[in-house]
């Protein structure tokens, strides 16, 4: 019973990580850059949904829509203002540092607008939970929606990349920017689209994260963002199914470590497992090793 309880909670926590990791992995896979501001875009999505649902009193579905639009626009703006000039001009290190800068910028901007007081985010998900084994095991509506959303998004992204022209363009850009441009692909447009999709996903992740764990502060996105990044690396960064698998496993390991070993050591155990996996499989669980011919 205890085992089942931990497993369910682990999957639920893991699916939140997974949904964030999908955005990380996708942007990395295509633009070859680590968008450390991803966690903060999630937080902005949370605030957008909170403002439209609570302050403006919109319908939950509508407020999720508002959050997606806000984050998508934000993602495209960040890409064009902060990243694109650097991607063209200088090293990837500069872009990485800029991403950290954008992360702080977003945190402080929200701090300025909404203040540092935490807000209680009432769940936007109105689906009743499942009660198993005579009420001792409860699977909440948020858990179900998060897991389903995660699987749907993963499948949709995989299809989009493999089956559509835009997706093929993304793959081409990720393999070789120069060659893709020569073939007539609009590289900048493709990268902007990647950011738009990644940020839209971040909005959904933000709503689901805040619905499952109803606390909203300007720093809400920071730690889940880092854990999701770990999940993405764990599963093989750049791989969409890898991000999903990495996220779920990370959640399960974290909850089991807390439950069976120690609540204080759980983070140390999670990151310890990451190190071991990377020692054995440097590209992560599902990462592909790309051999480059000289």
């Amino acid at each position: 019973m205890r085992f089942l309880f931990y497993l369910i909670n682990g999957i639920s926590l893991g699916s939140v990580y997974a949904i964030i990791a999908l955005g990380y992995s996708m942007v990395y896979g295509i633009a070859k850059m680590l968008n450390f501001a991803h966690g903060d875009v999630i937080m902005v999505g949370g605030y957008a949904a909170f403002t439209s649902a609570v302050t403006l009193g919109l319908h939950p579905v509508l407020s999720i829509g508002v959050a997606i639009v806000v984050c998508t626009v934000l993602g495209v703006i960040i890409e064009s203002v902060a990243y694109r000039p650097l991607l063209e001009a200088s090293s990837s290190l500069a872009v990485l540092i800029t991403a950290i800068g954008v992360s702080y910028f977003l945190q402080n901007l929200v701090l300025l607008i909404f203040g540092s007081n935490s807000k209680s985010f009432q769940s936007l998900i109105r689906i009743p939970g499942l009660s198993l084994a005579g009420g001792t095991l409860v699977i909440s509506g948020e858990m179900i929606v998060t897991i389903v959303a995660c699987i749907v998004i993963m499948l949709a992204l995989t299809c989009f990349i493999n089956r559509t022209k835009m997706g093929q363009a993304m793959l081409a850009v990720s393999e070789d920017k120069g060659a893709a441009q020569l073939m007539g692909i609009n590289v900048n447009g493709t990268i902007a689209l990647t950011f738009a999709i990644g940020s839209g996903l971040a909005a959904i992740a933000g709503v689901l994260l805040c619905s499952s764990y109803p606390s909203l502060t300007p720093y809400t996105g920071a730690m889940p963002g880092i854990k999701a990044f770990v999940a993405a690396v764990f599963g093989g960064i750049g791989s969409i199914p890898g991000a999903f698998l990495g996220g779920i496993l990370l959640g399960i390991i974290e909850i089991f470590a807390k439950g069976y070993i120690s609540t204080q050591l759980s983070d140390a155990i999670v990151f310890g497992v990451l190190i071991i996996v990377l020692l054995v499989r440097p590209t992560g669980l599902l990462g592909k090793k790309i051999q480059e011919k000289v």
Binding site: N9, V54, S120, Q122, Y213, S215, I255, K258, T263
Partner: protein
Amino acid sequence: MKNLRKVLCVTMAAAMTTALALPAAVFADDTFHIGMIGPITGAAAIYGSAVANAGQLAVDEINEAGGIAGFQVEYTAEDDEHDAEKSVNAYNSLKDKGMQMLLGTVTSAPCIAVEAEAAADNMFLLTPSGTAVECIQAGDNAFRVCFSDPAQGTAAAQYIGEHGLAEKVGVLYNSSDVYSTGVYATFRAEAENQPFEIVEDQSFTDDSNKDFSTQLLAFKDAGCELIFVPFYYDPAYLVLGQAADMGLETKWFGVDGMDGILSVENFDTSLAEDVMLLTPFSVSAEDELTQNFVAKYKEAYGEEPNQFAADAYDGVYIMKQAIEQAGVTPDMSYSEICDALKTAMTEIEFTGVTGTITWDASGEPTKAPMAVVIKNGAYELMD
């Protein structure tokens, strides 16, 4: 050009020397000068402005009633933005203006820095709300109005034991926070002497303060009747929500960090129904002192006073009582006043809005803790 710069330098230097040589005392000599330092702006502004306001309120009351032993009181508040360095600057600036006693500082980290200076100067320091143990440890010049962090743990254990609230107690604390671990450690030590047993203790860290399911399950399995939660209201409100989702039925007991849970935006306060917490002050207390203070504060500043305001209001009256006990006069230097007051502080018994308090030479207050329980979204005093 070069000459011009030289002339400018000399002029500046001359101006600075003159400024230094000017007599420091800006205040008149027949009044007591109380300085106050706290975060009046910035992220912790809610605490500092409460202390600044309530201190002013108390000083105005005293002056209206004829002052302390016939002398008027002047009260000057300086902002430190909850920054240790700015706090020390504010301290020096107040000292230059002739401060004789310090009400402050409001928050712990700046207070520790200022106390180091004040101890070296032998300046009387009374912190209304600096809860860290180190706030008053640098010298014998410093006293405290509120409970220290560890004292709250002891007080909470005694309260639970004496009132027979539970036999099986669980503790959840934040192992990455010095405040929370400090309270937990003393609670655990005092629990040995109390008629209840800690059957389960669980912790979390700032990095994993979202999911409490494993900890809550452990409490449920251990059959805890009461869970002691010595950490801030954020993330306490998350814990309460998840416990309700799990169907965990238990009593909750928090300390002063829980104060504020009712003002979390959009929080469903019914989740906090029946939560108990130790707090130095309750606006709903029915004694005349509290009623008078709450009414006057509301009239002057348009909001209900919080515990910081209450500590500061008492702080000024504590100074008054100690001054009267020691018989000091405003023409004495701050060092002489401090020497007289530190003896007087150990002799007085003060009764104010935060209870009846006595002090020993260490500067720590001794008083009965006040416990409130949340009923229908408001504090209600427990007996």
